[in-house]
């Protein structure tokens, strides 16, 4: 199963490595990890997604709570939260498929940030599943480079 954790942590040295180290040390998976400062400069927010059986996901929540630099852990249900991921991607094109690529971008709502002779640099954000679907569609054109932010999530 999938676990989505929204974690408030103290914004101090070593907290990110403490949290990622916790996952590594106990054999938990990190699927995605997104970190940023909140409106308060001394508190950061992390969104962590992970997969594992029920017991593992429960353990992740408890172990996160145990870390003294963690202020609050919320486990988000996918159905009751907004989950967004953003990507930047360079998709290759040639003269024969350029218009279909542009059409695809228009249909899904991906922004063309730069048009280069051999590729389009695209920006796209959506629910993680839609992002995965878009990446799959781009494969047939050829992906030159991709950057993903990982999921960020918030309870509705």
């Amino acid at each position: 199963m999938k676990g989505i954790f929204s974690v408030l942590v103290e914004n101090k040295d070593g907290v990110l490595s403490a949290v990622s180290g916790l996952f590594a040390r106990r054999g938990f998976n990190i699927d995605t990890l997104a970190v940023g400062e909140t409106d308060k400069h001394d508190i950061s927010s992390m969104t962590i997604t992970s997969t594992g059986d029920q017991r593992t996901i429960d353990q992740i929540e408890k172990q996160l709570n145990k870390n003294v630099d963690v202020i609050k852990v919320r486990r988000l249900a996918e159905s009751k939260s907004v989950c967004i991921e953003m990507i930047l991607v360079k998709a290759a094109y040639n003269m024969s498929n350029r218009s279909s690529l542009i059409e695809l971008c228009q249909i899904v709502g991906a922004k063309i940030m730069k048009v280069a002779p051999k590729y389009l640099l695209l920006e796209y954000h959506a629910e993680p599943e839609a992002v995965e679907g878009f990446i799959d569609l781009l494969r047939s054109y050829g992906i030159i480079e991709i950057q993903r932010t990982g999921t960020i999530a918030m309870e509705k």
Binding site: G14, R55, D58, Q59, N65, V68
Partner: protein, 568 residues
């Protein structure tokens, strides 16, 4: 008033009522040691032979007194030498604040002399750690470190202070320990209501449900774990066991959490658990584990562990619930308070039939007469007989550790000091030093194996210098006994690199350190040596000869069902 960083550190230690520090100076911590001279009348510094010795001593001090231990070291190798002791304290939930200094801020990150990323090294083996780069934040950090070390499930905290911070000045205002929650950074942290600083509220329904379950049980069994010891809940636990009229198995870390002479005690549980304990756990219909984390040395096979029983787990650390063993009911809370509540509501139970069944199995192993060597039980019972009943026992790790825990009776928290979780050979002498310094009125002995003793016997210099009358019993079988036992039982007798057929002569070693020593190989010689050691009032080594093939019995293989005793 304006003080230097090193003085602020001393003042903050005084706020915490720290009167003893174990440590070792060096380049980056020079300012702190410079200030220490001024505080010599209020802070007693014990200089060890090695930072590892200081780390174990601070840990032994913490375990035996219930107070927070403190150890100092310099940067680089000083800090890395602490690590084994830090990990030992972490695995056994011992509250120690380790303080090290690092190179100054203009040298940080440049691979300077004796520089290491100390907080990075300490990260997975501490409850929390801090690097102090601003003298204005020093006092708040120290206050916070102590609060973390002692709160909830206790544990070690590491503070790394840059050298320039110890020289720079800042305003310092004395705040008594009790008021720390109302000031500065700790107030902010408390206000955020972080779970870890507070004892969890106990759910009354959880208590009532357990009382009901005990009422329905015909074959209850208790496990006394390390949480009972750390929570100083031994009186409550004894009362609870008596009310529940339940046989009680004790883990390695639980020694002293239950009165060792209480007739309900079935002995140690797990890999080297007694038959009564292991069979009791296997046959019971209700298993209540207090402050025990069901480690692989206790719940050997988590799938079949106490399979016929409803398992109830009482622990202060929520993350321990359902971590290793799936439970049927749990109560998250401080052992003392949970047991108090249970004792208020529980009526006297009677399980005579069940007790008769459990105690039809032995709680201790009998050994054949050793002939021209001592056998483990003779050795332990002679020591126990001639020592005061409340003697504190620090052990190293291996066969001697198991024998000591199997055959001694521990009656109060802190009486047994042993590295249960991390299994640190060489822990005992440092721990004994910490215990003796923290409990000058108690008799302290150190039980070692010949392998373990070789590791950190350098601390004999500390024993001698500070005139600490610690008696070390070396259980000398000329081998790394526990590893040899595995080689014999599991590796078909293929003995590989476990023979300790080499020096030093421990009696001469004692003399070289200015202490007395004697070699003994039967009970009379042993008794004689103990009397001499007690009369001498100084550090003493008794080198006790055992047979090389003596084994710890019973034994259940790792991962096996708890009653699958091996043929030993």
């Amino acid at each position: 008033m304006k003080l230097k960083g090193s003085e602020i550190l001393m003042e903050c230690l005084l706020e915490q009522e720290v009167d003893t520090i174990f440590g070792y100076p060096g380049g980056t911590i020079l300012n702190v040691y410079d200030s220490l001279v001024k505080y010599r009348d209020r802070i007693n510094h014990i200089l060890t032979a090695h930072e590892q010795g200081a780390s174990h001593a601070a840990d032994g001090y913490a375990r035996s007194t219930g107070k927070v231990g403190v150890a100092f070291s310099t940067s680089g190798p000083g800090a890395t030498n602490l690590t084994t002791g830090v990990a030992t304290a972490y695995m056994d939930s011992s509250p120690v604040v380790f303080i090290s200094c690092n190179v100054a801020d203009n040298l940080i990150g440049k691979d300077s002399f004796q520089e290491v990323d100390s907080t990075g090294v300490m990260l997975p083996i501490t409850k929390s750690n801090f690097q102090v780069t601003d003298v204005k934040k020093l006092a708040g950090t120290v206050r916070r470190a102590f609060a973390i070390a002692r709160s909830g499930r206790p544990g070690p905290v590491f503070i790394d202070i840059l050298k320039n911070v110890t020289a720079e000045e800042a305003e310092y205002e004395f705040i008594p320990k009790q008021k720390h929650k109302e000031a500065g950074v700790l107030k902010a942290v408390y206000d955020r209501n972080m779970v870890d600083y507070h004892k969890p509220e106990i759910d009354e329904d959880d208590i009532n449900k357990l009382v009901e379950m005990i009422g329905e049980s015909e074959k209850p069994m208790l496990i006394c774990g390390g949480g009972v010891v750390r929570g100083r809940a031994h009186e409550e636990f004894n009362k609870f066991a008596n009310l529940a009229d339940s046989p009680t198995a004790v883990t390695v870390m639980g020694g002293g959490g239950m009165n060792g002479r209480n007739p309900l005690v079935t002995g140690m549980i797990g890999m080297h658990g007694s038959q009564a304990s292991n069979i009791g756990v296997d046959e019971c219909d209700l298993l209540i584990a207090v402050g025990c984390r069901f480690s692989d040395r206790v719940a050997l096979d988590p799938e079949t562990f106490a399979a016929k029983a409803k398992i109830v787990h009482i622990d202060i650390d929520r993350s321990e619930i359902n971590k290793n063993v799936q439970t049927d009911h749990h109560i998250v809370g401080d052992a003392k308070r949970v047991l108090e509540k249970l004792n208020e509501r529980l009526s006297q139970q009677d399980h005579s039939e069940w007790k008769k069944f459990v105690f039809s199995y032995p709680t201790e192993t009998e050994y054949e007469d050793g002939g021209d060597t001592l056998n483990p039980k003779q050795l332990c019972s002679t020591i126990a007989k001639l020592m005061p009943e409340d003697t504190m026992v620090a052990t190293d790790v291996g066969q001697h550790q198991m024998w000591a825990i199997q055959h001694f009776h521990f009656d109060y928290p802190g009486q047994l000091l042993t590295s249960g979780g991390f299994g640190t050979m060489g822990f005992g002498l440092g721990a004994a030093i910490g215990a003796k310094v923290g409990n000058p009125d108690k008799t302290v002995i150190h039980i070692a194996g010949d392998g373990s003793f070789r590791m950190n016997c350098n601390e004999l210099t500390t024993v001698e210098h500070y005139k600490l009358p610690i008696i070390t019993f070396v259980f000398n079988n000329g081998t790394l006994g526990m590893v040899r036992q595995w080689q014999n039982l599991i590796y078909k007798g293929n003995i590989s690199e476990t023979n300790m057929d080499r020096g030093p002569d421990f009696v001469k070693l004692a003399e070289a350190y200015g202490l007395k020593g004697r070699r003994v190989s039967n009970q009379e010689e042993l008794a004689d040596a103990i009397k001499d050691a007690l009369a001498s009032g100084s550090g003493y080594i008794i080198d006790c000869m055992l047979d090389i093939d003596e084994m710890v019995r019973p034994m259940v293989g790792g991962g096996s069902h708890i009653t699958d005793f091996m043929r030993t």
